[in-house]
């Protein structure tokens, strides 16, 4: 069964403070911080939601 829920990282700066908390905790190492941009690899991410909890400002959502 493909997991249809999608991860959304708000990294335009409205919420994200580029602190790297999500990057450091991701158990699959699939979130990347590039100074002022956070990206993740859709193919690797399992929607485990650890990053959602780790984000201190609530910039990551899974819908």
């Amino acid at each position: 069964m493909p997991n249809k829920r999608s991860l959304h990282i708000e990294s335009s700066g409205q919420l994200c403070i580029y602190c790297g908390a999500c990057v450091g905790i991701c158990p699959l190492n699939c979130i990347y911080l590039d100074e002022t941009r956070i990206t993740f690899d859709e193919r690797i991410c399992t929607r485990c939601e650890v990053c959602v909890k780790a984000c201190p400002v609530g910039a990551i959502e899974i819908g």
Partner: protein, 397 residues
């Protein structure tokens, strides 16, 4: 086009641990390249900015008014019902000392590294490690957006909590959810902070962590919180808890926020492995943060000095095999590991305490004069008044 580079020692990340490593490697005669992905060392700050000071001579840091805001006399620990346990300077050398401007501090350490002979490259990010026959021989990097390679006899990952270098090199650095705090801090002005103390509030106000008040000047303080990730329930919990704490404390509720920082802090046991063929990890990247206090600068710098010395030696011998680099692993463990492990066990216990128990612990410490501040001494004091609490802690006594 950016030219490929070659060096003895490559340090990735110019935070305190990286700069300290670069400085000591250069002092021992190695050719050192220190790369930093940001354009400005130390900025933006991601730190509570409180640090102890008794370790400065060991690593060769000279305190400077350029980056010291306040020299505190002690720390105050507040229980959930806000009973206070005061630790004064004499006993708290490891826990309190200065409140600093972290960007100024980081810049000072980078200056020290550069003055010792290290080259510093800004806007230079590592993208992956180069491996030959299973041995790390440098990194692919990009500088001002241009890709290039840096070849090094020894590569050192000092790339912080979000470290990638260790993972690329095949050194496991993953941490469990109970071994991470997610943190948020405001710089606030017009607050009733006491510049003589760093304050810590324990209990449900910050599950698995604490609220801290580190004074920057009269009326100005860093007001922050760490919450254990395994106790986080919703989105943005640190902000929710911190805002609630501030709202419940009139001396802070009247203040104004002028800055906000956040980040992850590891509160894990020490890594089992910090070296591989051609590679070493240091500082937050090696999970060297004290799991009880959340402080990482002292440990990062102390390990950085050892790392730099071993790196220089390996480069000189032209042998950066894991066996040779193990001198660093053994060296930092001899200096730091016992305390890290003990404090991790203490953290694991503290995270299970109820507010009622926290109150009793702080109550038991009222009027107690501890000769030396340690988990052991605190537990002995608590045992005298509430023996039932310390039953679970027998292993520490």
């Amino acid at each position: 086009m950016v030219d490929d580079l070659r060096t003895d020692v490559l340090v990735i990340g110019a935070g305190p641990a990286g700069s300290m490593t670069a400085k000591w490697a250069a002092k021992h005669g190695a050719e050192v390249l220190l790369i930093e992905k940001r354009q400005e060392i130390g900025s933006p700050v991601r730190c509570g900015e409180g640090m102890s000071k008794d370790w400065f001579p060991e690593v060769g840091i000279t305190p400077s008014p350029h980056w010291i805001n306040v020299e505190v006399e002690g720390a105050r620990i507040f229980s959930p019902s806000e009973k206070v346990f005061e630790i004064n300077e004499k006993y708290a050398g490891n826990e309190v000392g200065f409140v600093v401007e972290r960007d100024g501090f980081d810049k000072q350490l980078a200056i020290d590294a550069a003055n010792a002979g290290a080259e510093v490259l800004l806007k230079t990010a590592a993208l992956s490690v180069l491996k030959e026959n299973g041995k790390v021989v440098g990194v692919k990097a990009k500088r001002f957006g241009e890709p290039f390679e840096i070849r090094a006899k020894v590569t050192i990952g000092a790339d912080g909590f979000e470290s990638q270098v260790g993972r690329w090199a095949g050194i496991p650095t993953n941490i469990a959810m109970r071994d991470m705090d997610t943190c948020l801090q405001y710089r606030m002005t017009r607050v009733d902070c006491d510049v003589r103390y760093c304050d810590f509030y324990l209990g449900k106000v910050a599950p698995g962590g604490y609220v801290w008040i580190f004074p920057k000047a009269e009326g100005i303080a860093n007001v922050g919180i760490g919450v254990q990730l395994s106790k986080v329930k919703g989105m943005a919990d640190p902000r929710t808890y911190l805002d609630a704490w501030i709202a419940n404390h009139p001396g802070y509720a009247k203040g104004k926020k002028i800055d906000m920082v956040g980040g992850g802090v590891s509160i894990s046991p020490p890594l089992k492995q910090t070296v591989g063929d051609g590679i070493m990890l240091v500082g937050d990247a090696a999970r060297m943060i004290d799991p009880l206090t959340g402080g990482g600068i002292a440990n990062g710098c102390i390990a950085g000095k050892i790392c730099g010395e071993v790196a220089a030696k390996a480069a000189e011998q032209n042998d950066a095999s894991k066996e040779v680099l193990m001198a660093y692993d053994k060296g930092w463990r001899a200096r730091l590991e016992e305390k890290l492990y003990r404090n991790w066990l203490a953290k694991e216990k503290l995270c299970t305490l109820s507010d009622e128990t926290f109150d009793k612990v702080i109550d038991a410490l009222q009027g107690v004069k501890l000769e030396k501040l340690s988990v052991h001494n605190i537990l002995r004091a608590v045992r005298d008044k509430y023996p039932e609490i310390t039953k679970e802690f027998e292993s520490f006594l």
